[in-house]
Amino acid sequence: MSFSSFAEFVAMGNHGLYVWSAYGISLAVLILNVVGPLLARRRYLQEEARRLRREESK
Amino acid sequence: MRHSGRDRCVEPMGSPIVTTPFLEAMALACERDWRLLFERLDLALAPGDMLQVVGPNGSGKTSLLRLLAGLMQPTAGEVRLQGRSLRGQRAELARNLLWIGHAAGIKGLLTAEENLAWLCALHRPAGDEAIWQALAAVGLRGFEDVPCHTLSAGQQRRVALARLHLEAPPLWILDEPFTALDKQGVAQLERHLQGHCERGGMVVLTTHHSLAVRPATFRELDLERRAA
């Protein structure tokens, strides 16, 4: 552990803003990359469900 | 003829006479790139009339239709709407005209339904229900929400022709409406055109095939020339 306190950890030796924003943006993008395909998959399955229902009712 | 259209002075706002032709062409001439396609062409269209323009390739059928729809200006002569020259009454013509040219204004990226909704909105908006019925009437049930560019040539034409099944203006000008339609589609459209005329509408169209079903008022205009 190279920090002695949590506050020090957050401050990152005065570079906290840079470090945390870099990591924040990166993580956000990574999460977006996971959530995007998952959402697309759900949307696709919903579409298919609707189509199947339509075909059955025909 | 009693009305004064014939002698080229604009009729004052007099009482409309029942026999006044709705649309008239007087001594029309059309020239494209130096070549005279036709001249001194007269025609008159009254409610209930159906006119088929025929002629060999390159005789000027499309050009004539565009003149009548106000899309092109004639080289000589003029087109009259209800006895008055077309010049000043673009808006009046627009309210009464349904024009479908070679290309029918269908956007490939939009679905059949969206396309129709917009084309109707240009004249008067139509409800979803009416649009779906019109699409069903031209045999496109099940294709309502497919982007039009994935439809075949004939199917795209059917989307455009569905406009004829929505509440439509009296005068229809159609350039080769039958192209790309299969036999059943052709027969159906012929019947629909006949019905429109019988309800007092007017149709001007070109096509190379001879119609099997025609209203009583059917006439042909032959632009026969030595072309091609």
Partner: protein, 223 residues
């Protein structure tokens, strides 16, 4: 505002969003042209800063102009324009809606991207408000002027570089005012005069040019 105006705006937006790639193309073009310059003139930051007002404006101008090339093309080819001309709605109104939709989604995005590129070229942050404002006032004028040209050449089979030829000379006042405003800001001078001129150009363009565009379209359709 008439309902067709809103309807057309909605329709055009939908069309644009069906092809998102086309939407961002002008943006990326803008960015690439700006990125080409450091590669071509060298990376010295002082030179790039001096250059940046002019460069940003020229790139914006080319991006807007070239994205307009096809503005009416597909409408012409699929017969939509014929339908507009024979419709009872006033053509200038339809045209205005169409250009507005185009500007909203490509011109505006370009305005928002510009500050980032300006920073990369080393333009100081205090110039950014002037940059934003001048682009905000200038790009609608560019769009409308370009649309006049696009309407005139829409019937030609291969436009090629005809549009730039017709329209770039007309863009010069906007270019001079826009880059002038920015240059003034860079040197710490007031830029209000330039911006006022740009604003009045914008008002003029919005009121008059739709009629010119409509006339151009009628000519092209009647050919």
């Amino acid at each position: 505002m008439s309902p067709v105006f809103a309807l057309l705006l909605a329709r055009e937006s939908r069309l644009l969003f069906r092809r998102p790639a086309e939407l961002v193309n002008p943006l990326v073009f803008f960015a690439i042209v700006i990125a080409l310059f450091p590669l071509a003139v060298g990376p010295e930051s002082q030179l790039l800063q001096t250059l940046s007002p002019g460069l940003i404006w020229v790139a914006a101008l080319l991006a807007v102009l070239l994205s307009l090339d096809g503005l009416f093309r597909s409408d012409f080819e699929d017969g939509s324009l014929e339908q507009w001309v024979v419709a009872p709605q006033p053509l200038p109104l339809l045209v205005l809606a169409k250009v507005l939709a185009h500007w909203l989604f490509s011109g505006l995005a370009l305005v928002l991207l510009a500050p980032l590129l300006a920073l990369m070229l080393g333009l100081p942050a205090r110039c950014l408000p002037v940059l934003l404002l001048s682009l905000l006032l200038g790009t609608p004028v560019l769009s409308l002027l370009g649309a006049v040209g696009a309407a005139l050449i829409v019937g030609l089979k291969r436009g090629g570089l005809l549009l730039p030829l017709l329209i770039l000379p007309l863009y010069i006042p906007v270019l001079i005012l826009g880059s002038g405003a920015l240059q003034a800001a860079l040197q710490g001078l007031p830029a209000a005069g330039h911006l006022l001129w740009l604003a009045s150009l914008a008002v003029l363009a919005v009121t008059l040019l739709p009629f010119a565009i409509a006339a151009g379209l009628t000519i092209s359709v009647g050919e």
